[in-house]
């Protein structure tokens, strides 16, 4: 099959969805470049905004309430902090507080950079914050194939969706069909089958965990790698059945250790799948400090193959039940 870049997969999804449905349009800073989408759809539907995240984030909410389907390009998730009010207080809540009278079909596209030496203020991962905003859906595409399929589903969904990319992942390439396809939310993907331990990983941690699993295989440990693909809704069933099979769980996610996503995912399995577990769950998260600029410092705080390997090994070293 044809291989394209992650970003091209996104542009293909945007282009296909904008041709399919006149209500879909793109807005954000710098969206006029590259010019392909503007050339095809014009500046009305590929709308460059001033630097006003709260202004255009909220504008998208209003437009969505009355029937358009905006896709908002925020680029760096850190910039969205200036627009947090409109996402949290309006996008996530208006439908609920109206008693279900309206829908808000809007996609907020964000990326976060870690490991790219961008320093404290440009490396910000708000996934666990958004996971605390009921009313939002959250997708975490880790391959070019998912980037296209999940974006199409997000655009067609009638709820606000946080579409989270990661700098490292966005530079990858992968097989992407030319045809129209969607990926349902709440369907985790088994990236690699295994029987001894489940590694539940998101975004950049997926490919890292796959590489670790290959190495472990040579040492006789068969790891299963599960990518949830959407965090809200979450495919609990597939996650639990993987743990039922393997009896061991390592959760790898780049949100912070304290009250991060790995904690939340581990808690679900501890509560609903305790009977399957042979040993305590291990988490590999980001250490609780702002992102330092210096490469060895940043590398030390993030999940690494070594940390994942160590965590997996520990699940075998702790005395099994």
């Amino acid at each position: 099959m044809r291989e394209i870049s992650y970003n091209d997969a996104i542009n293909e999804a945007l282009s296909e969805e904008m041709s399919r449905d006149d209500a879909v349009f793109l807005m954000g800073e710098g969206v006029h470049s590259p010019a392909a989408l503007v050339d095809r759809f014009g500046t009305e539907r590929v709308r460059t905004t001033p630097i006003s995240e709260n202004g255009f984030g909220g504008t998208a909410v209003g437009a969505a309430v009355v029937g358009l389907r905006p896709v908002v390009e925020f680029r760096n998730a850190a910039f969205l902090l200036s627009g947090f009010d409109q996402i949290v207080s309006n996008a996530a809540k208006l439908r609920y507080m109206s008693g279900g009278q309206l829908t808000i079909p809007v996609v907020f596209m964000l990326s976060f950079s870690s490991g790219l030496r961008r320093g404290a203020q440009h490396s910000f991962n708000p996934l666990s914050w958004f996971a605390n905003c009921p009313g939002l859906k959250i997708v975490v595409p880790s391959t070019a194939y998912d980037a296209k399929g999940l974006l199409k589903t997000a655009i067609r969904d009638n709820n606000p969706v946080i579409y989270m990319r990661q700098g490292m992942v966005a530079t990858t390439r992968g097989e992407v069909p030319r045809k129209d396809y969607t990926i349902p939310f709440g369907s985790a993907e088994i990236r690699r089958e295994g029987v001894d331990v489940t590694i539940l990983a998101t975004l950049n941690s997926v490919s890292m965990s796959l590489a670790v699993a290959e190495k472990l295989a040579k040492q006789g440990i068969s790891a299963e790698v599960v990518d949830p693909r959407s965090l809200v809704p979450l495919d609990k069933k597939k996650i639990l059945s993987s743990v039922e099979k393997t009896g061991r769980l390592v959760v790898v996610d780049e949100s912070y250790e304290t009250a991060g996503l790995a904690s939340a995912l581990a808690a679900i399995v501890a509560e609903e799948g305790f009977q399957y577990l042979k040993c305590p769950i291990k988490r590999v998260s980001t250490l609780d400090v702002p992102f330092p600029y210096s490469p060895p410092l940043e590398d030390y705080m993030l999940p690494t193959p070594e940390k994942i390997t160590k965590a997996v090994r520990e699940t075998f070293n702790t005395k099994s039940r």
Partner: protein, 325 residues
């Protein structure tokens, strides 16, 4: 003044008067119920400002939308929302307009063009810009109106919203209900700009300032702004000078500390009394008809109260409904 009065039909003026009476009685009743210890919580009255929502919303048609703030009873009644559903919403009952999920601040009725009231200061502004963007992109002549107070002119959303609306020449009317105070803070303590409308020049948009207690004056200023928006002439920042003659919030009772003399001065310009006086003077309303109207409105509010009392609370399980579409 005469000119304005005569441009409005008797029927229209009486309709305005009835709506203003309804708003007044709604707030009075809410205050009475709260004072009696009824389970009604954070509720913001509109007393003294009723002319603004009435005069503005009178120009709106089907397909237009408003984005109210938390001081929303006036906006809701002006748009023709049912006071039964509103009263039940104050209680969080299942007969409420939002089935109890919104409460006093967030009442909504999309079928009447009313988005949920927004509780975050300035939060009404960007969504109204978006509603107007949709109207423009769909090539309709629909407009959107957002309401906010003087305090909201200091928050980023106001500046970002005006800038965007001007840049894209959108059919949105930014209505500032300048009641001179934000909770307990007088505008001069928080803003270097006394006339809110002055802010418009920074964004190259049209501005209008008018008295907010005379419904005819409100109607006229809003009419011009809304017509401009419908004709594709872009947004207006429309400032109405008015005054809140009740506390900021009824429950908990907050900030009754405005200077007594200032309050007394504004009470003399009470919008309901002002309109009543004019109608009587112009022989458009007899004392008898006035009494009858007041009694009808009082009955309507009593019926709403009875409805709200009788309406059951939602079943607790409903808490999980209405989140996702």
């Amino acid at each position: 003044m005469k000119v304005v009065m005569s441009s409005l039909s008797r029927g229209k003026l009486l309709e305005f008067y009835r709506k203003m009476l309804l708003m007044r009685r709604f707030d009075e009743k809410a205050g009475e119920l709260i004072a009696d210890g009824e389970p009604i919580y954070e509720t913001h009255p509109v007393m003294g400002q009723e002319a603004v929502p009435v005069g503005v919303c009178a120009h709106l048609e089907r397909g237009d939308y408003i984005v109210p703030n938390y001081r929303n009873h006036g906006h809701c009644i002006a748009m023709g929302m049912n006071v039964k559903g509103m009263m039940a919403e104050l209680y969080g009952k299942s007969g409420g307009v939002c089935k109890g999920k919104g409460g006093p601040m967030h009442m909504a009725d999309m079928s009447k063009g009313v988005l949920p009231g927004i509780g975050i200061v300035g939060g009404t502004i960007p969504p109204a810009v978006g509603v107007a963007l949709a109207a423009k992109m769909k090539q309709t002549d629909r407009v959107s109106v957002c309401f906010f107070g003087d305090g909201a002119t200091s928050i980023g959303a106001f500046h970002e919203g005006l800038n965007l609306a001007s840049l894209w020449s959108l059919p949105v009317i930014f209505v500032c209900e300048n009641n001179q105070y934000a909770s307990r803070d007088p505008l001069e303590l928080t803003s270097p700009v006394k006339d809110v409308a002055t802010r418009a020049s920074a964004y190259a948009i049209r501005k209008r300032t008018a008295g907010g207690n005379d419904v005819s004056e409100v109607y006229k200023a809003a009419g011009e702004s809304i017509r401009d928006a419908r004709k594709g002439k872009g947004p207006t920042l429309l400032e109405f000078k008015t005054f809140l003659t009740a506390p900021h919030s009824l429950n908990p009772v907050m900030y009754e500390n405005v200077p007594k003399a200032e309050l007394a001065k504004w009470k003399k310009k009470d919008p309901v009394q002002l309109l009543r006086g004019r109608l009587v003077k112009a022989n458009l309303l007899t004392r008898q008809a006035d009494e009858q109207l007041i009694a009808e409105v009082a009955n309507q509010i009593e019926d709403a109260y009875t409805f709200a009392r009788k309406s059951p609370y939602p079943s607790p399980k409903e808490v999980l409904e209405d989140l996702y579409a």
